[in-house]
Subunit: 325 residues, 2 copies
Amino acid sequence: MARARHHLKGKVMSEPSANRKTLYIQDVAPRDGFQNEKQFIETQDKIDFINALSQSGYAKIEATSFTSPKAIPALRDAEVVMHEIVRNPDVIYTVLVPNVRGAQRALECNVDEVNLVMSVSETHNRANLRMTREQSFEQLSDVVSAVRGSRVAINVSLSTVFGCPMEGDINAFDVLELVGRFAALGVDGVTLCDTTGMAYPTQVGKIGREVRKLFPNLTTTMHFHNTRGMALANTLAALEAGIDRFDASLGGLGGCPYAPGASGNVCTEELVHMLELMGYDTGVDLTRILDIAATLPALVGHDIPSQILKAGPRLTLHPAPDQGA
Amino acid sequence: MARARHHLKGKVMSEPSANRKTLYIQDVAPRDGFQNEKQFIETQDKIDFINALSQSGYAKIEATSFTSPKAIPALRDAEVVMHEIVRNPDVIYTVLVPNVRGAQRALECNVDEVNLVMSVSETHNRANLRMTREQSFEQLSDVVSAVRGSRVAINVSLSTVFGCPMEGDINAFDVLELVGRFAALGVDGVTLCDTTGMAYPTQVGKIGREVRKLFPNLTTTMHFHNTRGMALANTLAALEAGIDRFDASLGGLGGCPYAPGASGNVCTEELVHMLELMGYDTGVDLTRILDIAATLPALVGHDIPSQILKAGPRLTLHPAPDQGA
């Protein structure tokens, strides 16, 4: 998972620091973002977008989903996308896989990682995946069996870890138990997803510390949504708990289906902007991803929730009014 | 400054906690928000709005500004507003005052506090106040002389503490020096303002700790803008530095003049929502202020940046899709 990324660095935004801690930023916009767009994003546009992200210093890119084209027509071009993108060997290309059939398709495309998804909440799992949690776990266990032993890594993304929009609070024990069951199957990583923006900092700290303590060999990612404005505050709490991997979505693509008009995924550019200012080494070239983000409104056909795209990075200077014409 | 506020508490949102730390929330929407609205807010609407805030558990409300009606016509009704609101004795009513004339008008209205404003940045001070910093300091010193000795408290809000949109970085020493000069004049409190959303958490922690250490007798407030999405993350950093007072603006009223479309003041409801979830006692009744915030789009004639107003508080539950009709 080494990244020869430093040659990519553009303008240095952060405070000089001799020992900058390395963080890993993973963009989910090509999957989680494009999947939620009503208008089909043309295959070539997807490929160009992923190719641009590939040159921006990410640790991982979630490129597409090997679900049924009927279930998710927005990503019906998964094979073409995976075959035609120009891969950067320093980037892990992960894809969402719901079942053994999807895993086979993904393996044929030579992906680096498969990402399996289920909910901690029984109600959300039934609503979202039309199965009980036990049925989901069984199906995903079959995927693990099919993939384990190959060179392809396995990550599990758990939805509604910090709350369910239908059930409310989720018992942290249920989260830890489910992580433990997947750890026992031998998966490489787990992503704790705040699916609808219900996480808050003290809760993130607690769950983050517990998962790190109980499963130190699992690569742990936090996936925050900014639905209630707390994504960056939750990131601070996760950092304090020792988490160093974060999902984010360029431009904040991927809204919240339960709250029309509200934000969904945390914006990658807002996350990177804050972390670099704090002296962390995210590897991501902020100038470069801002240029890519600026192309998104035309690509998706609507305004995007990125604040940084509107306001510019912190040191974007403005002329004094009395110096103007 | 005691507040008999607990009878105001509505739904308890937060985790149960035996020793909840008290925080002080100060709403600036009637001044900082309404001042930035292009359309004049009717005087009676202002009064009704402040009266509603007064019953919501705030520590302080910035009610209006005693500036020249020509300079800020949006608040030309300052006297009427201050005379006609129904004051809650547990709330401190503060008003912005630019000079001795403004202070006299404020004192005649029996305000609890005057709030003086100048910038740490020379360029911003000239652009915003049409004076050098020294001229501003002199003018505000005269206000302090005029008010000191009365029962009216004196707060100083320093703009661009965390960065200037024209100069860029601001030397922390300049901030501390200016705070020190006002402390020497005998003011009661100082507000460190992130005027255009340039603050970031590590910076907030450093400056917050320094001000607390050097000026332990000054009541210190943090005033964050969410221009680049970091307001709540900065709040966490301020809390860790020992800060317990926060300005905020209901609905996030008060945009950023340098970034059209970007957020300005942090939303009170987003701030209170996070802090109560973390177990702090803000005193503010979230249900009540959300009801008031819901009236703002009609009052100001445009959408407001509040995420919580769109998504609801964290435990706003939704029916499962397959339970629907």
